[in-house]
């Protein structure tokens, strides 16, 4: 069961991006680009979500040959549930933020 908690607008934005393609593995830089959140905010947030069991992380091969592996992230089942309930509760705020980034 997902524990309800106070979720910041930036966390909500990251959750909504991760939930858009929940099977995909996202890289930190991709998430920065798509959410507009800086690394100093994004990584502590990802670490927190990971510690709380909402995010899984693993190393994946780079799409560019010869480049090192990349650390990638995606939502766990609990993370998907958290994203679903949080986004449903604050749908307007998420749309506003995505609109501002577009």
């Amino acid at each position: 069961m997902v524990r309800r908690q106070n979720i910041s607008r930036q966390t909500l934005l990251v959750l909504s991006h991760l939930a858009e393609r929940p099977r995909d593995w996202w890289h930190g830089y991709d998430l920065m680009g798509s959410t507009g959140i800086k690394s100093g905010t994004l990584y502590p947030m990802l670490l927190r979500l990971h510690d709380q069991g909402y995010l899984e992380a693993r190393w994946v091969e780079s799409s560019t040959p010869g480049r090192p592996q990349r650390h990638a992230y995606r939502l766990t089942a609990a993370g998907k549930e958290l994203a679903r309930t949080s986004i449903a509760g604050k749908a307007g705020a998420v749309q506003d933020q995505k609109g501002a980034l577009a």
């Binding site: 502590p44 992380a57 190393w59």
Partner: protein, 189 residues
């Protein structure tokens, strides 16, 4: 010689990785790996963010808390010791040998406390400060009961009361830091 922004960024992310708590190294390896997939102009702000993250994570560890308290106690003891030396030098011409001696002895005790704390940590600080506190309190009681009233004995008593209060503060701070560290150790990661 002009150091390129990319080199500065690489140095910063290397520093971030070395500062990061050991259980987070994999995440910082991940950040380093992202370096090879980013445009050059974005490396510096990215590295700065990673360094900030690393410092914030390190600041929350029990090791950091203990080291910070240890440093604060060492600096505090040195400052207190210097204050006593300064006081002894100021009263020297007035020829109050007992007060000068007491002040210099106290300065030496606090300086030794600083060295011991720096070398052996908070547990030893507490185990040495408690007997010193006990001794100081006994001397104060002795002075209050048996010493002949006078400027010299009153000044000596006041000096010792200040020292005892400083020792109490040091013990409380060291104990609080040790309790916090024990709590952090029990806390699930």
């Amino acid at each position: 010689m002009i150091i390129s922004r990319a080199r500065i960024a690489a140095a910063m992310i290397g520093l971030a990785k070395s500062i990061a708590p050991s259980d987070r190294k994999e995440w910082f390896d991940g950040m380093v790996a992202e370096f090879d997939h980013m445009p050059r102009q974005e490396l510096l702000p990215f590295a700065l963010g990673c360094l900030t993250t690393s410092v914030r994570l390190r600041a929350r560890t029990r090791e950091f808390a203990l080291a910070a308290v240890r440093l604060a106690l060492v600096v505090g003891a040195i400052m207190w010791s210097l204050a006593h030396i300064w006081f002894a030098l100021r009263i020297w011409p007035e020829d109050v040998p007992l007060l000068v001696t007491a002040s210099l002895v106290t300065a030496a005790i606090f300086a030794a406390g600083a060295v011991v704390t720096a070398r052996f940590g908070l547990r030893v600080t507490t185990s040495l400060a408690v007997p010193a506190l006990f001794t100081g309190t006994l001397v104060i009681l002795f002075l209050l009961v048996f010493a002949a009233p006078g400027r010299s004995s009153e000044a000596l008593t006041a000096l010792l009361i200040e020292d005892v209060l400083m020792l109490v503060a040091a013990i409380v701070i060291a104990k609080a830091a040790q309790s916090y560290a024990a709590f952090k150790t029990r806390e699930p990661s």
